[in-house]
Symmetry: C2
DNA sequence: GTGATTCACTAGATCGATTTAGTAGCCGTC
DNA sequence: GACGGCTACTAAATCGATCTAGTGAATCAC
C-alpha cells in the first residue's frame, strides 16, 4: 500500500512508464531492465493499487449480488450460502471480488442496485430470485449495468441467463408419488410472484394432468416454516384431504410434516411428503425427508463465470443450461394408505364409467 | 457514470473546485452559486465516482468478511446469513458496502485476507470464527488492516472485540437438565480449535463440576451433521451412557437425535437433547428441539458499527459485550428416566458415603 | 484612507496507475 | 553519410475527485 510504482521507478532508476511496462509484461523495455525492475518491485514489496487501477481502467474488479430477503428469513435459506461459495470459486481465480448487499425491506432493493451501479462499485450483477414481470430487468438495463439472470425471466431480457430447470425434479417427485399409488397429491408452493414459485407449481400441475388427475390441491405459502404450517393446515382440513404433499422447499416440508404429525397423522403411513433443496438437516428428520437436490454451488460458479465473460466481452450472449436437480428418495414417502387406495379405486371406476 | 464533476463545472460556469465545495456542503461558495451548482448537478444526473473518491481519499468504502468453510458446509450454517444481514443493516446507513470472500480450502484463507488488504479493497475486516492461538491476528496487524473480532481472542490482540458470551446459554441448558434430574449429561462439541468450541465445552464442564458432577462425557465433533452422528454413537456406546446430551449446535443435535431414535431410544423419554443456534427448522423437528437462541443479526450490526468507528477513528478501542443468548425450552428435554434416576440415586449415596 | 481581513472563487497539484506521443541512440542500407 | 526503421526508453496526459495556495474584490478597523 505504501510503496507505489513511483517508488519502484526511483529505486530502479527508470521512469514510471517503464515500470508499468515491465510489471505488465508489455514490450518496450529491454530484458535486463525488466528484470531489474521486477526485482526491485519484489524487494520493495510493491502491490498494485486497485484503487488507481480502477480509476484508470474504469473497472471495479468486483461483481455484485443483491439478496432481497427479510433478515430473519435469511438464516434458514440453504441456497445463498452455497451459491455464494460457488461464485467465489470462480472469482478467486480472477482478480475479482464479490460485493454483497442484503435488502431487507421492500423498497431497499432498488436502492441497493443503484448504490452498486452509481458509484461504479461493481462491473456487473447476478440477478437471483427472478420474479414475474421483474422490474429489475428494466432498472438494470437503464443503469447500463451488465447482468446475468438465474433462469430466464418471463419478460424480454437483454441479459444472458444461467438456467437450472426446477420442473424436472418436481415432475419426478409427483411421478414417484403416483407410482406409489397416490392420486390426491397436493402442492404447497412458494410465492407465485417468484418464477421458481410458478415453475414448481406448473410442473406439479402438468405432471398430474398428464396422468389424468386433477391438480386442484394447491396452497400458496411463502417458503417459510410458519407459512408451510398454515398451508398444510388448509390442505389437511379439506374434506378430500391429500395423501401426499409436494412442498416447494425443505423448510416448508419440515414444518408441514411436523404439523401433520402433531395432528395424529403418521408420515409416511398416512401422508407422504417431499421437499426441495436437500438441506443438510433434511436427511436427519424423523422420518428423513424425500427431497430434490439442486446444485447451488455449480449454479454460482457458472453464473459468476458467465458474468465475468459478459463484463470482459468474451461471452457470446447465449444462455447456459445446467444439469437439472434430481430426486432424493428417503423415508417421508411411502405407498398410499390401503383404505384410501380402495376409495380412489372406486372413484376412478366411477369416473371412468361416467365418460 | 458518464457525467463528471467537470461536466457540472462547465455547465454551471464555475471551476471544478467550486463544484466540489458546493456538493460537499463546504464553505467557500456563495449561496446562489451553490444552488446553481446543485441544480445543474441534479439536472445532469451526476453521481460521484466512487473510484475517484477512493483513489483520492485512500479509502475503499468497503468492509471485508472472510468466511472459512468447506463449500458444502456453508448451506447449513444458520449463523452467517443472519450475521451478514446485520452487517448490512449498519452499512446501508453509511456509504459502505460489504466485500465477501469465501475460503473453501485451508490455505485459501490467508490469500483471501491478502487479496482484500493488498489492493486496498477494504478498509477493515470482521474476524469471525476466532481460533485458539489465531494466526490471523498477527497477519492482520502485519498487513496494517483494521479489524474487529467476534469475541476476544486468547492471544493478545490489538483489535476491539464484539462479544457474545456463549457460556451463559450452555450453563442454562446444563442447569435445566440437572433440574430435570439428569446427572449423566454429555457434551458433543465443535472443533476445539475454535474459541466458541472451547468456551461451550468449558461452560458445560464448569456447570457440571459446580454441581459436583463429573464432566467426563465429552465427544469432539465438527459442527456437521455426520460429525454429530459419529460423536453421538460414541457416547451412546459407553457402558454408562448419558441420559442427556448438550450439543454445540442445532445441526449436530438434529443428527444426533435422529441417530438415537433410529437406534430405539425415545427422545426425550430415554434421552434429552439440546442444541445451539435456534435454527428455524429446530422447532419443527420431532420432537421440537430445546436450544439456545443467539442473536447473529445484532452481532453483525454491532460488529459493523464498531469496525466503521474503528476505520473512521471515532471508536474508543473498548470491547462491546452484547446480551447473551437465552435458552429456548421445547420438547426434546424431559425428566430423567425413572430407572436411571434410581441408579443415579444409589450412586450418589455411595459416592457421598465414600467421602 | 490605508492596511488588514474576509469572502468567493480559480488554477493547479495530487492520489497511483496506464497510455500516448515523442526522443535518443543504434543499426542497416543504398 | 543521410535516411529509414527499429529498440528502449521518458515526459506528460489521463481517469474523477479533493485539497492547497493564491487572487481579486469587497468589507472592516482605526
Amino acid at each position: 500500500m505504501a510503496v507505489t510504482i513511483s517508488d519502484v521507478a526511483r529505486a530502479a532508476g527508470v521512469s514510471r512508464g517503464a515500470v508499468s511496462l515491465a510489471l505488465n509484461g508489455h514490450a518496450g523495455v529491454g530484458n535486463q531492465t525488466r528484470q531489474r525492475i521486477l526485482n526491485t518491485a519484489k524487494t520493495l514489496g510493491w502491490t498494485p493499487s486497485l484503487r488507481a487501477k480502477s480509476l484508470r481502467s474504469a473497472k471495479a474488479y468486483a461483481l455484485g449480488l443483491v439478496i432481497a430477503r427479510e433478515a430473519k428469513l435469511l438464516g434458514s435459506d440453504p441456497f445463498f450460502p452455497s451459491f455464494i461459495a460457488g461464485v467465489e470459486m470462480t472469482l478467486e481465480k480472477h482478480d475479482y471480488t464479490l460485493v454483497l448487499t442484503v435488502a431487507t425491506e421492500p423498497g431497499a432493493e432498488e436502492r441497493s442496485y443503484r448504490k452498486l451501479a452509481d458509484g461504479g462499485r461493481v462491473d456487473g450483477v447476478i440477478l437471483s430470485d427472478v420474479r414475474h414481470d421483474d422490474s429489475r430487468i428494466a432498472l438494470l438495463s437503464g443503469l447500463g449495468l451488465p447482468a446475468v439472470t438465474l433462469n430466464r425471466p418471463d419478460t424480454p431480457s437483454p441479459f444472458p441467463a444461467v438456467c437450472m430447470d426446477d420442473a424436472v425434479g418436481i415432475t419426478a417427485a409427483v411421478e414417484h408419488l403416483m407410482s406409489l399409488g397416490h392420486t390426491r397429491i397436493a402442492h404447497v408452493g412458494g410465492e407465485q410472484a417468484y418464477l421458481h414459485g410458478r415453475s414448481r407449481r406448473r410442473a406439479w400441475g402438468n405432471a398430474l394432468t398428464a396422468a389424468g388427475l386433477d391438480a386442484d390441491l394447491f396452497a400458496e405459502a411463502d417458503f417459510t416454516a410458519p407459512g408451510g404450517v398454515a398451508a398444510t393446515a388448509r390442505l389437511l382440513a379439506r374434506k378430500n384431504r391429500p395423501t401426499a404433499i409436494v412442498y416447494a422447499n425443505d423448510l416448508m416440508a419440515t414444518a408441514g410434516q411436523s404439523y401433520a404429525q402433531a395432528h395424529g397423522l403418521n408420515v409416511p403411513g398416512d401422508l407422504s411428503v417431499t421437499g426441495y433443496d436437500n438441506a443438510q438437516f433434511a436427511r436427519y428428520l424423523n422420518p428423513p425427508l424425500t427431497t430434490i437436490a439442486a446444485d447451488p454451488l455449480a449454479w454460482g460458479r457458472e453464473a459468476a463465470a458467465m458474468l465475468l465473460g459478459q463484463v470482459k466481452g468474451t461471452h457470446d450472449g447465449g444462455d447456459l443450461v445446467l444439469r437439472p436437480p434430481r430426486l432424493v428418495l428417503r423415508g417421508s414417502t411411502a405407498v398410499v394408505p390401503k383404505h384410501v387406495a380402495a376409495v380412489a379405486e372406486d372413484r376412478s371406476q366411477i369416473s371412468t364409467a361416467g365418460i
